[in-house]
Subunit: 244 residues, 2 copies
DNA sequence: TTCTAATGTGTAAAAAGTACATATTTCCCT
DNA sequence: AGGGAAATATGTACTTTTTACACATTAGAA
């Protein structure tokens, strides 16, 4: 339940018998970055005793005055300090017993950020980037949440220009290809990859070269500005319903 | 808020100041069927005064002892009497002001059912099938929910064999094509359509013919059993988290 | 200067998608 | 019983996309 759940126990007791308002609502963020040629996810040591040896995703209860997208954005900002991030809702997990302290449903978001541009707000809870492929178990149902979000990312990555949120502004085609390979866990043919990316017409050739690489430098590219879409696709708050 | 929200006002008042347990959780079902060559959705007259002239989707508050998938299944069953239905979670809508009587977040599901096999549980609220293409406005944010679910259906329909849940067990290729055309709002070339369906290898030729058609009857097909997937893709309740 | 490691590029074959026309079968009507 | 209407069934040429695959070039490092 992370922080934010600062309810006095007495109050909790008082409402626990009520049928329809005793479900808490949280959001959990699967925050991906790409670092050292690996896809990583931001995790933190669980502060629940039940899960004392496990890590969990970053999440928090939704405040009564914020919508879900705002809540996920807040969590991301609190932890990474980043202002302009790509976030997308994926799925809501609502099993009865998914949280040991009570009924909490959670809406999962995934987020893509450029590891270079963020500074983690360090806590004493061992907040850190963890390679996705090493993660076997997480607290709560967070492993299932991670898997679902990774699945969604994989679905989107070939169709939509979202992957660029994981890279710095300027990148080489090799970096881009390695990132695809890391996300999809496949290896791709270089020529076919370049052809395919070329067809999509997402990139601008910057006429600049890589620097500080221990081999022949490659050209640098950036994403065409019209494809930058860091804010959620769906509007964060739908218009108030109009009475006929 | 539909039925189910039978809280006494005093109790409501008592808890309304609490920060984190005053968000109600509902599910809304976008129940599609295919009838008279049109895609239709099940709607009901809103029972809120604010929306007295509008229809809404079928929804209800989630009970404390049921998970989200179960709740959507219950709603569907209560209204259509069907046992074995295709249901899939799409998106959770959580704007602060989406519901006039308070903070209610809702998880939207879409469902596909064969119109022939259900009998609506009639109410005095004008529950009925409404052609999707005629719907301009619904109560709450239900029009946005409908649009989102229709969009998801369209995304899935060419890739996954879900569409067959809208058809009877046996169908002709013409019926199938007309259904695709209704969902996608396009018209398709018959020969190319048959080729494409053939490649997917989803169908079994039943060696039977249509009957009671006013023209030359076509062959009947059915979906191969291994592609029937009426239950939700994601497990309806995730395993209890295991402590390390 | 030579070696190494990566960049950059093209072509042929296979698969999938698109556009398009004619013969056939059944029903229905006279 | 025959003829017309309406829908079924089917194939081919063209284009586009996908896949498999090899060699010359460049810059850094030794």
């Amino acid at each position: 339940m992370a922080k934010g759940a600062n309810l006095k126990t007495a109050e909790l007791e008082k409402i626990s018998h009520l049928d329809y308002f005793n479900i808490a609502v949280s959001v959990d963020c699967v925050i991906f970055c790409y670092e050292e040629k690996e896809l990583k996810v931001l995790v933190i040591k669980s502060d629940l005793e039940e899960f004392s040896n496990l890590y969990s995703l970053l999440g928090d209860l939704v405040r009564p005055d914020e919508d879900l997208d705002t809540a996920s954005y807040r969590i991301l900002q609190e932890r990474t300090g980043m202002e302009d991030v790509y976030l997308e809702q994926v799925h809501t997990f609502g099993s009865i017993d998914r949280h040991p302290s009570g009924r909490v449903i959670t809406t999962a978001y995934y987020s893509l950020i450029d590891a270079k541009h963020q500074k983690l707000r360090l806590t004493n809870n061992d907040l850190h980037w963890h390679p996705v492929r090493n993660i076997k178990k997480l607290a709560f149902d967070h492993k299932a949440i991670l898997d679902t979000c990774l699945g969604r990312l994989r679905e989107q990555v070939m169709e939509h220009p979202v992957i660029f949120n994981l890279l710095p502004e300027k990148f080489s085609l090799r970096e881009l290809q390695e990132l695809y390979e890391a996300i999809l866990s496949v290896s791709l043919d270089r020529r076919n990859f370049r052809k395919k990316i070329g067809i999509k017409d997402w990139l601008v050739d910057l006429n600049e070269m890589e620097e500080d690489v221990p081999h022949r430098p490659g050209k640098l590219y950036k994403l065409k500005p019209e494809f930058k879409r860091k804010t959620p696709r769906r509007k964060s708050s739908s218009p108030r319903p109009q009475v006929a």
